[in-house]
Symmetry: C2
């Protein structure tokens, strides 16, 4: 099937290819009658400009890059869904790339890939958004970047974020309000800056309520189910155990839930469990997880928006902050009597 080109449309409409190009791109300086006539032919023929030719000649690009270190996580799926929906609506295409730092030369590979294919912009979710080498690379290649939930500021890039600290604090406060005074915390992957923020929020709430921060109540984790399970088992193995556990994400909270079931501890009667993210799996657990709903989908959509609507009068590297929602389900409940008596 022979592709339809600008020339075909031009011939049909009786104008030059350049004029058709003007109409396609909504440029000024085309007589209204001519514009309408050309548009009509374009519609009739169903002409679509060849994206590659366009990119080659104009340096624009209709390809956005979405970068992941782990494309299998529940988080990645959410982000991708949001980005994809917005891309479709705007006529952009989404190229998914995976980047890991485990191999030597990963940065060179990444650069090679970028050089072979000019991107109209890149979306960097955590933890990639905090890899300085990667940010430098994109800056050097002059590719616009939007970071999702970045750890710190970067002059060169835009960001979409959420108040992780505030959300964690609020969730902790909800647990305290339920009567919990001894709360365990499972840390997230330290590579993700958000992990530290969530811990800060947790600790701020504890301190504000005058509760002690016992070091043996805080265990490391890496956002995986497995790490949550391990930490949960350690926290629940001895007689002296917390009445609530706050895991820094839902997958780990699920691990704690499983650890509790294995140990025969009833949730939420004897133990409350809270997660973070409101991943799809939070609703698939029994009992369903109390968590913080993060607007992942909306954040990704906003990222696409920022990349495709450059400037429009605003500053070049805006920073958007989207709201979270506390979502209390059945995995949390009042602290058991023995606890409040203490």
């Amino acid at each position: 099937m022979k592709p339809l080109t600008l020339k075909d449309v031009a011939r049909q409409a009786g104008v030059s290819p350049k004029t058709v190009s003007r109409v396609i791109n909504g440029e000024a300086y085309v007589r209204p009658e001519v514009r309408a006539a050309v548009q009509k032919v374009v519609d009739e023929l169903g002409y679509r400009p060849n994206a590659f030719a366009r990119e080659l000649s104009s340096a624009r690009s209709f390809l956005l890059g979405l970068y992941f270190d782990d494309p299998a996580s529940a988080y990645a799926a959410d982000v991708q869904r949001g980005a994809l929906a917005r891309c479709r609506a705007l006529g952009y295409h989404l190229v998914v790339e995976q980047v890991t730092r485990d191999r030597l030369g990963w940065l060179e590979e990444c650069e090679a890939s970028l050089r072979s294919m000019r991107l109209g912009g890149a979306i960097l979710p955590p933890p990639l958004c905090d890899w300085p080498e990667l940010l430098d690379l994109f800056a050097r290649m002059e590719v616009a970047v939007v970071r999702i939930s970045p750890g710190d500021a970067d002059e060169r890039t835009a960001a979409v974020e959420m108040d992780e600290r505030g959300a964690a604090r609020e969730l902790t406060e909800a647990l305290i309000a339920l009567g919990h005074r001894d709360i365990g915390f499972i840390q997230g992957n330290p590579e993700h800056h958000a992990a530290a923020r969530r811990q800060e929020g947790f600790e701020a709430a504890m301190v504000a309520a005058g509760l002690p921060l016992r070091s043996e109540r805080t265990l490391p984790g890496d956002f995986t189910f497995r790490s949550g399970l391990a930490a949960g088992e350690r926290l629940l193995s001895r007689e002296d155990r917390p009445s609530a556990i706050f895991a820094a994400n839902d997958e780990m909270a699920l691990g704690v839930l499983v650890a509790a079931m294995r140990a025969g501890i009833a949730v939420p009667d004897q133990l409350s469990i809270a997660g973070f993210d409101d991943a799809a799996i939070a609703r698939m657990a029994w009992p369903p997880l109390s968590t913080v709903h993060q607007p992942h989908v909306e954040m990704a959509a906003a990222a696409v928006e920022l990349l495709t609507r450059p400037a429009e009068g605003r500053k070049a590297t805006p920073s958007l902050r989207l709201p979270y929602t506390l979502t209390l389900r059945d995995s949390t409940g009042p602290a058991p009597a023995s606890e409040t008596e203490r």
Copy 2:
């Protein structure tokens, strides 16, 4: 940053651009010394050809399309991971697209998108792989297609599949071997051809074992957690309930698991539950789900392989069949005594 082009390399190596092109593409008719010299410059400069220019001039493409109807499913994540890994290794890029049939004009939109961007090939997982309009479209646009787990044969496309029927049968036989004689079945989304295959396998095993197929034991589902939960509640609500339930995928099996917990039915002591797919969540449940491990990741990788290694002497539209693995975990166990006594 000014991009590095063929001309730059040519100048540096003291040959014409065309000769560099020959070396890059491994064409014949280049003197070994010249080839080595050019290659050296290419390596030193870290030159990477511009994919867009290449595609424009040669009709080849380094972009593969991965199409989903629901990019948020656990299945989609697996497939994407497999495809991505292989693409990286082969220097291809993966463009993810979402297609739904809910809007009028979806096919036209899809065609427009395809025309704006020539793809080197497309991967169609279920249920898209069984939409005739879509297959016709790709045939018309002359884009190579690999279908994953297709429902029926199609002369024009290659396929990667698994013996769904045999796997479902084998899993059912395992349940029967555990003493279960009254087994409930939750159907999958009828849009997915695999759903019917799995049901066939289940029924074949039952019939072969001389067990009755009671119609009230088979309930509809659509592969979602919610549908599994609803079906599970219906199956477990009355006194006369099956001793085992086989859900056509893991998400629905998880729904059954939750229904059982709500009803206070112990798994696997009073009820065995089995799923299908071996999604990540199967291991995150308690008890972990017995299921069929589908090589989703490998299937996707194989699909990429088929698209990027065209022909090589084999027939144009091969059909690969990959092996499954029965994975019995703790959600299944011997049938309760009352059951075997009957």
